[in-house]
Amino acid sequence: MAEFSAPLVIRGRVIEAADLEFGGRREGAHFATPDVRRHLDELVLATPSALADLYRLSFEEILDYLAALGERLSLSANAYLQQAFELSIRVSGLGEDILRHTYERVGDVFAREAVREIADRTIGIRYLEGWVEVPLANGCRAAVRAFGARSVHIVAGNVPTVSALSIVRNAITRSDAIFKTPSNDPLTAAAIARTMVDMAPDHPITKHLSVAYWKGGDAAVEEALYQPRNVEKIIAWGGLASIRHVAKYIQPGIDLITLDPKLSSTIIGRDAFADEKAMRTAAERVALDVGVFNQEGCLNARVVYAETGTDELGLARLNRFGALVWEAIRALPSHVSSPARALDRALAEELESLRLGSEWHRIIGGTREGGVIVSQIEEPVEFARQLANRVVNLVPVDSLETAIRAVNAYTQTIGVYPESLKTQLRDRLAFHGAQRLVSLGYAGNPVFAGPQDGMEPLRRMCRWIIDESYDPAVVPLASHVPGFRAPDLTGEVP
C-alpha cells in the first residue's frame, strides 16, 4: 500500500482514485496515482482556440490570481503542500530544514511584483497584453504579439521551486500546460494545482493546467500526447534520459525547449589567497556555493579553480584553503545546508580509493557532512560530475587560462572572486560556454527575471505572431511596380 497518493489534476478536475503504484527514490517511499492512460482525451486541449478564455483576462487579473494563489501556498495552512513536503523529506536529497525553508517560500514565487518583473524583463508585458506596433523601415506597419501555446512541461524534481516557477511561466504567457511530474517530486505541482482548484475551479488559469505522473518513456501516453495537433511546445528539464524519451516525437510543429542538466564551478583569483583573513572570506563563500540546496542543484559549485599556483608554496596555500572550506561547509546553518543521511556510496568509494591510492589528491573530511578533495595537480577529478553531498574539488592553477579553458557548453554558473575578476573574465567565459556569472557565495540566489541556460525560455514558450499591414499608397503592390523583382534576402525593397 503506497503511503502517498499523487492525484491527477486535469483542467480543474481532481481525480484521486489511484490505480497504479510507483516506487520512489532513496528511502523507497512509494506513491500511487490514477492511470493517466485512461484520461488522455481530457488531458489534451483539442482545440487551440480554447486558449481564448485566457485572453479575456487582463495581465493585472493574472497577477491578482497568482498573488491570491501565493497567499494560499503557506506551508502551515496548506495540507496539499504539507503532504508534498512530507514526501520530499523521504525522497529528496535536501535535508528537512532546507526543504521546510524552500516550501515555506514557494508562495513567494507568485508575489505580484516578482511576477510582474519576470513578465516584463523576460518578455515585455505589452507584448503579452496586446499587439505592439512595430514600424519597419520598408514601410510596413507591423504588429507583434506574444501568444500562449499548448505545452508540456517535464519538470525537474530536485528543488520544488521548479514546479512553482513553471506554473507562473504558464500563467503569464497565457499558455495551456500539461505537467509531467518526476518520480523524485510527484506532489509539489499537484499540490499547487489542487490549491488552484480549491480557490477558483472555473478560472481560466486553473482550467489551463493539468498535472500528471506517468513513467517517462511510457509510449501509450507519449505517443498520443506528443503530436503537433495536441502540443506545440515541450519544455523539458533534465538529462539525457529525460530528453531521449521526448526526442523521438520531435517533428516540425513541436518546439522542444531543453533546460539541460548543467554543472557549475568557481574561479578564485590569487588575491583571495593573500592572507589568512582573505582566505577565510573566500572559504565561506565557496562553502555557500557548494552547500546551498545540499549541492543538489545545477548551480552548485563542484570544482573550484584556485589561482594559488602549483608549486610547493601554492599547494601549501591551497591545502590550507581546503581546511578552511571544510570548516566553513560544516558551519553552514541548517536552513541553508545540512549533512546528508549518508555520503553517496559510489562517491564514498571514489574518495576512499583516492585517499588510499593517490598521492596527487588530499581528502579532507569525506563523511556525511561533506568533504574537500584538494587536487595536488592542475586537474579536477574525473568523477567531478558525480560530486554531491557537499563534496567539492579544489584545483590549483598557475594561470586562470586553465580555468577558462575548462569552461564549456555544459557549464552553467561560475562563481567568481574577487569581484573585479568577474568583469575581467566575463567575455572570455561566455565565449567558452558559461551561462551565468555570479559573485562568489551567491550561486544559490538565481534570478528568475533573466535568461536561463544561455537563452530566454519565456520568450521561446510564446508563439510570436506578426501582423503586417501595408498601405498601397506607401508600399505599392508588386504588380504596380515597373521592373519588379523579388526582394532579396536582406529584405531591401528595390
Partner: protein
C-alpha cells in the same frame, strides 16, 4: 609447476605456508576437505598474506591503519580491508594523456609488493609501451580492464600468480565426485580457441600466455585466436572514453590529446567489419577442426550468435561433445530465446553449457554446480556486506548483499576486493546438494547499478548519471 601433484600430497600445513597451492588440489579434493581444515587454512593464509603484504603494499597499509587493524584474528576482521574497485584506477587520467608513465609507475607501486625500481617508463608514450616496459623490467604482469567506464583499471598481477591462473582454468571444468579427475584428462592437448587478439594485457591474454607456458609446454599452435596481434590498451582507453561520452550525450565535451585522437581512427576501423570477421573465423574453425575437442573462453551472447550463424550455414555438431566451454553469464539486458541451449548444442555439440561467474580480481572463475549454485574453491574467502552500511553479514545462514572476497592465491598484491554485485550467499553450514561443502552463491547475480540507475528522476544538475564502475568480469571482457 607440476599439475600432477596427487591431492593427498599437500597437507594443510603446507598450504598455509603457500596458500596459492590450494589451486593445485582437484576440485573434489578441495571441496572434500573437512570444514575445520578449511577454516584453519583460510585464517592462517589470511594472516600470512596480511603480515607479508602490509609492509610492502602501501595502499593496504594505509587502509589497515585507517581501519585500526594491526592484526587479523578472525576471518571477519578482514571485511573492512576489501579494496573498492576504484582503487585500481585511482590515478589521474591526465597521466595517460600526457604520457606521464613515470608517475603512473609511482602510483602502481602503491599496490604491489614487487620492486619496480628497474622500470624506466620515461620513454613510454603509450599505455602499451608502459605495459611492455613493466613486463620486461619487472615481474609484473599487469592486467588492465576493458575501459568501458572510460578509464582503464590496472590490477598488478605478476609472474608469480600465473601458474595459479592455469590451475584455476583446469579447476573450472572439474565436476565434483570420485571420477571428476576424468573431466580434464587431456586438457593440455586441447587447443584453446579465443575470438580476439592473441596478445595483450587483459585477463584473457595473460591467461593465454600462462597457459602457453604452464599447460601447453610452449606449443603456440595450441592457441588459436582470431587475430595474432595485440589488443591495444590505448585503443580500449580511447574507445571507452568515446563510448562513455556518447552514452552521456557529452561527446562534444571530450578532449583527447592528438596522439590518442590518432587511435580513434584505428578504433573505428577495428569496429568496422568486426562481426563478419568473427563469423568467418568460426566457420573456418568449424571446417578445420570438425569434430575435434576444443577449449573456448567466451560469453553467452557470443556462443549463441556463433551457433545461430553456424546453423544458418548448415553446420551442425561442429566440435567434440567433450569440449571445454567457459561461458560467462550476464546477458547485459539481452534476452535469449528459451531454447537457446538447444540451438547452441546443435551447433557446438557440447553438452555442458553451465554458466560461469568470475572477475578479473579473482584467480579463477567458477561454474554453476549441478544444483545451480556457484562455489568458490577454499582459496577464496567470501564476504557479504550490507550495500548501504558496509557492515558484514554474519557468517552463517543465507544473506543477500554486496559480494566481496579475498583471493588468497594473490601473492604480490592484496587479494581483497569488494565487487559491485548483489548476490545471495549461503555460508555452507550444510553441504550443497551437489556434494560440495562450504559457502555458495545463488545463480541470481545482479549488478547494483541496475536497480539504482535513475530512470525517471529529473534534476537540473548534470551529476548523478549512472556510472559504470564495473568490476570487469573476466568472462565478459571480450571487446
Amino acid at each position: 609447476m607440476n599439475d600432477r601433484v596427487p591431492p593427498t600430497a599437500i597437507d594443510v600445513g603446507e598450504l598455509a605456508a603457500a596458500p596459492e597451492r590450494m589451486l593445485e588440489l582437484t576440485s573434489t579434493a578441495a571441496f572434500s576437505l573437512p570444514v575445520e581444515a578449511i577454516a584453519d587454512y583460510q585464517i592462517t593464509a589470511l594472516q600470512k598474506r596480511f603480515r607479508d603484504l602490509v609492509p610492502r603494499v602501501p595502499v593496504l597499509a594505509r587502509l589497515a591503519d585507517e581501519q585500526g587493524i594491526g592484526a587479523i584474528r578472525r576471518t571477519e576482521d578482514a571485511a573492512p580491508l576489501l579494496f573498492k574497485h576504484s582503487v585500481y584506477k585511482s590515478y589521474p587520467l591526465s597521466f595517460l594523456d600526457s604520457s606521464s608513465f613515470g608517475r603512473l609507475t609511482q602510483w602502481l607501486k602503491g599496490l604491489t609488493s614487487l620492486d619496480l625500481s628497474g622500470v624506466d617508463a620515461a620513454g613510454c608514450e603509450t599505455v602499451d609501451d608502459w605495459i611492455q616496459a613493466l613486463d620486461s623490467k619487472s615481474e609484473l604482469q599487469v592486467i588492465h580492464s576493458g575501459g568501458t567506464s572510460g578509464k582503464l583499471s590496472f590490477l598488478p598481477r605478476s609472474r608469480r600468480e600465473m601458474p595459479s591462473m592455469v590451475h584455476g582454468w583446469k579447476r573450472y571444468f572439474e565436476r565434483f565426485g570420485a571420477k571428476a579427475r576424468d573431466d580434464i584428462e587431456g586438457i593440455d592437448q586441447v587447443p584453446l580457441v579465443y575470438v580476439g587478439q592473441r596478445r595483450g594485457a587483459m585477463a584473457h591474454h595473460r591467461l593465454m600466455d600462462a597457459m602457453l607456458r604452464y599447460l601447453y609446454a610452449g606449443d603456440e599452435s595450441k592457441i588459436v585466436t582470431l587475430h595474432p596481434g595485440r589488443m591495444s590498451a590505448d585503443m580500449l582507453s580511447v574507445g571507452g572514453r568515446l563510448k562513455t561520452a556518447e552514452a552521456k550525450g557529452e561527446l562534444g565535451r571530450l578532449q583527447l590529446p592528438p596522439h590518442l585522437l590518432a587511435r580513434r581512427e584505428a578504433f573505428l576501423a577495428e569496429q568496422r567489419g568486426a562481426a563478419e570477421r568473427v563469423r568467418d573465423f568460426i566457420f573456418d574453425l568449424a571446417a578445420r577442426m570438425r569434430g575435434a575437442r576444443i577449449a573456448m573462453m567466451s560469453h553467452q551472447g557470443q556462443i549463441y550468435d556463433f551457433a545461430v550463424a553456424g546453423l544458418a550455414r548448415g553446420i551442425e555438431k561442429a566440435f567434440a561433445a567433450d569440449s571445454f566451454i567457459m561461458m560467462g553469464g550476464g546477458s547485459k539486458g539481452r534476452v535469449f530465446p528459451p531454447d537457446w541451449q538447444d540451438t547452441v548444442r546443435r551447433f557446438f555439440q557440447v553438452e555442458d553449457l553451465r554458466m560461469g561467474y568470475g572477475m578479473t580480481e579473482c584467480m579463477n572463475a567458477t561454474r554453476e554446480c549441478s544444483k545451480g549454485k556457484f562455489h568458490f574453491l577454499p582459496y577464496v574467502i567470501p564476504y557479504l556486506l550490507d550495500p548501504r552500511s558496509g557492515e558484514p553479514a554474519p557468517r552463517t545462514g543465507t544473506h543477500t548483499g554486496r559480494f566481496g572476497l579475498i583471493d588468497l592465491a594473490a601473492q604480490t598484491y592484496w587479494g581483497g576486493i569488494l565487487t559491485g554485485d548483489e548476490v545471495t550467499l549461503t555460508f555452507g553450514d550444510r553441504p550443497c546438494g551437489c556434494g560440495r561443502a562450504g559457502p555458495h552463491l545463488d545463480a541470481s547475480i545482479r549488478r547494483y547499478g541496475e536497480q539504482e540507475g535513475g530512470d525517471d528522476k529529473i534534476t537540473c544538475a548534470g551529476a548523478p548519471e549512472a556510472h559504470d564502475r564495473a568490476v570487469d568480469r573476466l568472462l565478459q571482457d571480450l571487446q
